[in-house]
């Protein structure tokens, strides 16, 4: 639930979601849920030449389990806050 809260603070920001099949999709984060499923708007492939079919999409719902990485906007992340929250996370104690 901890990263669910983190992603909720990033709604409206532009992120790159990199999937386990190497497809990387850039888009505006619309919403996220407890499974870290992700909805993106204004999507585009980071490598459109390799994944031309992504150009046909305007928005997308990505199942959380197929995500490998999410590239976050560093300016929107308070690292000190994240570290404190991690230390105080009940599941980590």
């Amino acid at each position: 639930m901890f990263f669910y809260s983190v992603f909720k603070t990033l709604v409206g920001k532009t992120v790159v979601v990199e999937l386990k099949n190497d497809l990387a999709i850039q888009g505006t984060l619309v919403s996220v849920d407890q499974y870290l499923n992700i909805k993106l708007d204004h999507v585009s492939a980071v490598d459109p030449a390799r994944y031309p079919h992504v150009a046909t999409l305007k928005n997308s719902f990505i199942r959380g389990s197929v995500v490998r990485y999410v590239h976050l906007p560093a300016s929107a992340i308070d690292t000190a806050l994240l570290q404190d929250a991690t230390r105080n996370e009940p599941g980590n104690r």
């Binding site: 386990k20 990485y69 690292t79 991690t86 599941g91």
Partner: protein
């Protein structure tokens, strides 16, 4: 055991918060970066990350590996999904990648 600060496995990771760590992932991937956050699934947020992907070249005729290439890239802030994580370790030489 009670006086140890590392009583459970995750305590070891907790000691590495705000430190450089090396994360081994599925698919011949390795990350080196500063650990900012994690949870019980080993989902993580790393900063100033160097990702190294080892690509094995295979001779398709003889089914033999002919060499390995390491492809590196840098990412400023990265969320890593925990299901791909194999191991997390303190990084002794952060800049050797």
């Amino acid at each position: 055991m009670a006086e140890s600060s590392v009583a459970r496995p995750f305590d070891l990771i907790k000691l590495n918060l705000d430190e450089m760590v090396q994360v081994k992932l599925r698919g011949n991937r390795e990350l080196v970066g500063k650990l900012h956050a994690y949870d019980q699934h080993m989902n993580m947020v790393l900063g100033n990350v160097t990702e190294s992907v080892t690509v094995i070249d295979v001779d398709l005729l003889n089914h033999q590996a002919t060499g390995a290439n390491v492809v590196k890239r840098n990412i400023e802030m990265l969320f890593v999904r925990g299901d791909g994580v194999i191991l997390v370790s303190p990084c002794a030489h952060p800049h050797d990648g």
